[in-house]
Amino acid sequence: MKHDYEIAVGPIHPSLKEPILLRLTIEGEEIVDVDVIASQNHRGIEWIGMNRNNPIQSIYLAERICGICNFCHPSNLVMAIEEIAGIEPPERAQYIRVIQGDLERIHSHLLWAGVAAHEIGFDSLLHYTWMVRERVMDVLETVNGNRVTKAIIMYGGVRRDIDEEKAKLIRKMCSYYREAFNKLAKLFLEDDTIKKRTREIGILKYEDALKLATAGPTTRASGVKKDVRQDFPYFAYPDFDIHAITPDELLGYTVGDVYDRIVVRLLEVKQSIEIIEEALDNMPSGDILAEKKLVKLMAKIKGSEGEAVARYEAPRGEDIHYVMLKQGYEPLYSWKVRAPTYINILSWRPMLLGYQIADIPIIAASIDPCISCTNRFAVVKDGEEKIINADYFHRLSIQKTRRLMK
């Protein structure tokens, strides 16, 4: 006789960084149905941008949409408004934007790798990965004055230059990562336990990846050659020879499972290092900001009218903003933000179906969701609700790892 249970993962859960609720129907250990409920916390950011803030304030607001990809959202907003108002950023600024963007990718992918290791109970690897990640955080702090919200991008350029001294520091960081990369690749890709926990787990088929419009490493791990930096010209990226990384480059074949998502992200760290080094070598000299006077800048934006779509390859995938300005109306007349996770959570369903409860944390984390953290979930059995905390859930995951190691 079969018993169907429904369990809820979330709204707050350690493998999900923002409040979101996963309702899973379980048959024994197997997941048979998945429903995602996102209505836990809506901050009304678009509303503030459309009603309250002026466009310059909105840069800082956009920066706070997400703490991890705090460069991609303001970049999109700035790109869209530059297109509408006809502001031309100087060449040097375009290169600095590329460097900033890829520094962010390195730190975000390493952060994810650590979280992934933690989800399967490999905590020493979490600590090692995050120790390695500290290097790029230090560089971000030295270059921008801040580890997290960098406040670097501005309409018509960037706010801080990367001089020779800072460039030297970034170069040193790159060579450090070249070495660290080999060790990390060995730890993540050759470890038997990691392989057992991630190979053939949470598979997203090529067709599903296309159909569900997934973005970023999630879609590339399923073999779709899609990367906004490669496909769509923005910033100084057309100067670089960028290609979308798929797992077959390293392994010769693509499965589309969690392991492949690790492969893609690790290779992208290496790719970002190469991009940064190339950008430092070829950086043009000159100004970094087209218009220094904010009042003049504001007047120009306020007098502009039109609409534009901007896209950016964030660490998690394609980020897109739609902006409309209306003459004489100070805030943005229309603003739609779509972060990559918005579309990637659709792929949780095909990924989770047929797998076990203990696989939920690693599968959910494998798309690198940008949504906040759980501490408990409720089990409803015979109409009685029982709350199980994160420790128990995490322990289940570790137990599975230990079982496999025997």
Partner: protein
């Protein structure tokens, strides 16, 4: 398929189209282009099916954006085509205008399954009735969110309560 071919196909089918572009790159200057297509609301589903059939790869759906112009609401369905090559991708945006007194649009979730979250979003945020939507629950707003309040609207049905703090601050200043 490049942007001009796509534009030609839609022109031949009788739709109004235009292209906007912007230069990117420093040493290798390339324009990023957006193709805009205006679709009458009666022909919306037909045009979407036409789009899916004519495209040589699976169109990448991005998002639906939505603007309130007072007497009408404009929907933009943003897609991307031409990915996988080198700097060949372009954005393709379908514009549909709906009169305020008849905010109804057909669901296209059967043609492009990825639109479902976005359709649920315009339903709750702008109060648009999406006909035949497979899932009509709230997406981002809580299930007890008051009915008849639509955060993206610019008329009397928009959000006012949340502005309290700001309004008070403005009075004091």
């Amino acid at each position: 398929m490049n942007i001009d071919e796509a534009r030609q196909k839609f022109e031949e089918a009788g739709y109004e189209t235009w292209i906007t572009e912007r230069m990117a790159g420093v040493r290798n200057k390339v324009a990023r282009k957006t193709l805009w297509i205006r679709i009458p609301k009666e022909k919306f589903r037909e045009a979407m099916q036409f789009f899916k059939d004519m495209a040589d790869q699976y169109p990448h759906f991005s998002i639906i954006s939505c603007t309130d112009f007072g007497s009408n609401v404009e929907l933009n369905y943003h897609f991307a085509l031409g990915y996988g090559g080198r700097l060949e991708e372009f954005v393709i945006t379908f514009k549909v205008s709906l009169p305020k007194n008849d905010l109804k649009i057909d669901s296209i979730a059967d043609i492009f399954p990825a639109v479902i979250y976005s359709e649920r979003e315009i339903r709750e945020m702008m109060g648009i009735d999406v006909i035949n939507i497979p899932d009509d629950r709230h997406m981002f707003l809580t299930k007890d969110f008051p009915s008849g309040v639509y955060p993206w609207r610019r008329d009397e049905t928009g959000v006012k309560e949340t502005n309290k703090l700001y309004e008070r601050w403005k009075d004091e200043a």
